[in-house]
Symmetry: C2
Subunit: 326 residues, 2 copies
């Protein structure tokens, strides 16, 4: 998926960097729109949103919308909205009752920099801000409703929250209960990650991540397509791309936790093993995980080949997902 | 605001009870729409939503919509949506890092019945479900967007979450920091509840509750008006009614905490004083609080007199707010 022409690759990098700046500006504007209430809450919301981050999801909104011919200014709201949901989820995931992480993007997590109550409320307030931003997107009302419905579905029990709940149920994170190495808790047979059959465990792991991280990545791409009013075959090809990208994103994340140190990662490394999480390297091994990444890269390339528009920025985001080192 | 004719009063009570059943059915349908993911998460969401509750906010949606001539079936979604947001806020407010309450509506709170991680996630998943339900409301897309924007604003930093943050900042609930009787923390001068000047403290308390509980009660009434596509003067009169009702609701809540026992209240009584919360009885006394309730009842009656439609159910909800004993 690499772009052979160096000047073309440079142009794509500049394009992505420009979109990242647009997303940051849209996020700042969204936070400004709720200024003037409780200062601690606003500071915590800003901390959660504005201190770094790769802006992968906003970039996917712009790149998908661009591939479908959307005007850039119609993509700012959807780009900000999906990042607001992502940011809130990180704040809540880091809470002591969840992953209990003190470090995120090289910064103290919100409950460490502020306090737990403020972190809960900041996450709670970032979520409706995402929907408020979408409701103000400068497209027609039919598309606005489609954008809102898409994000609501991706963020909820059938998407991100459901995936996080599967993770909590499978690993015991959050309940304070220690599990043995297989993560098996006979009191929760429904969790599905508990069977000793490796293929069943792999299926569970893929389903977990398709919801926990995949749903929001796919929503980012779909928001771009909805904003552009893309045709059904285009949307299907983008869904194929999104599915492969989501899975690749998580496999790469699991590999990074094994390979990287905390300084590079900007968050605590080696936590997955310490927390007895089910991961792709733990389940199928490091080499097989890397082979899966190569297969997913090929799937992304195939999916993009079916699209009529300029897919080079999407391809570059796929490449970064596979090759990222932090 | 009482209805003099007993048969008319009975008819209104039957109407409200019918709407409560409609709301319960709409809530059950909303929860069914996300069935099939992680069983613990779904059970926690159901626990939060389906075990009782007066359904005050859904009833306000129906009563306001009815006053403006909306068809009942268009009000089911907005009624369920506002209650889903209310239910999620209770789950998070009850968390150990917030109010740390073990009892709600006479039942164990979600983090007690399940665990903290599941309670956080159940709240997080109930919120987007509210927006998903609104997006599917059978009205035109322009009204749908208006409904979504209204609820997003009311639930966020300028509304419910902002009010909760003001409460946390003023009383120290959630931070684990003890405050003296005045609730004064010199490190947070902006909280506004700290000045010794009683009138300034009263202004702060009213602002806090206008956001914390008032915003969602007002949103309920507005959702009904938006669904009915009510004219601007009608909406202004309903906003007047909503403002008085929201404040009355909180004053009554504060009085109940002083007067009632836990069995009647269905939650732990006397907590406000124990937690050093600023309340109307603590600030202006019990008698003056009751006098404020009488004034607010008159304001509600005046506001409803300006409306053309059948306002009897709204008047009855105002009366119940003033006179409720649980």
């Amino acid at each position: 998926m690499a772009t052979a022409d160096p000047s073309r690759a440079g142009a794509i990098a500049i394009q992505l960097d420009d979109w990242r700046k647009r997303a940051d500006a849209a996020l700042a504007a969204a936070l400004d729109s709720v200024a003037g209430t409780e200062p601690g809450l606003l500071a915590a919301m800003r901390h959660a949103v504005l201190l770094g981050g790769k802006r992968m999801r906003p970039l996917l909104v712009y790149a998908a919308g661009h591939a479908c011919g959307a005007r850039e200014e119609t993509l700012d709201g959807p780009a900000a909205a999906v990042e607001l949901v992502h940011a809130y989820s990180l704040v809540h995931d880091d809470l002591p009752a969840m992953d209990d992480d003190a470090l995120r993007r090289g910064q103290p997590t919100v409950h460490v920099a502020f306090d737990e109550a403020t972190a809960i409320l900041a996450g709670d307030a970032l979520q409706p801000l995402a929907f408020a931003v979408l409701a103000a997107t400068p497209v027609n009302d039919t598309r606005r409703v489609a954008l809102l419905a898409e994000l609501a579905d991706a963020a909820g029990a059938r998407g991100m929250c459901g995936g996080q709940a599967l993770d909590v149920a499978a690993t015991g994170t959050g309940s304070g209960r220690a599990r043995h190495a297989g993560g098996h808790d006979p009191s929760r047979p429904d969790a599905g990650g508990n069977a000793d059959d490796p293929s069943r465990r792999l299926g569970f792991l893929e389903r977990l991540h398709a919801m926990k991280t995949g749903a929001l990545l796919r929503a980012a791409i779909r928001l771009g397509a909805i904003t552009a009013d893309a045709a059904a075959p285009t949307r299907r090809a983008l869904d194929d791309f999104a599915e492969a990208l989501g899975l690749a994103f998580q496999i790469r994340d699991d590999l990074l936790d094994v390979e990287a140190d905390s300084a590079t990662l900007g968050k605590t490394a080696g936590k997955d093993a310490a927390q007895d999480k089910i991961t792709f390297p733990a389940l199928i091994g490091v080499d097989a995980s890397r082979e899966r990444l190569r297969q997913l890269a090929a799937r992304m390339t195939d999916a993009l080949a079916a699209l009529p528009g300029d897919t080079a920025p999407l391809a570059e985001l796929g490449r970064r997902t596979i090759e990222r080192s932090y």
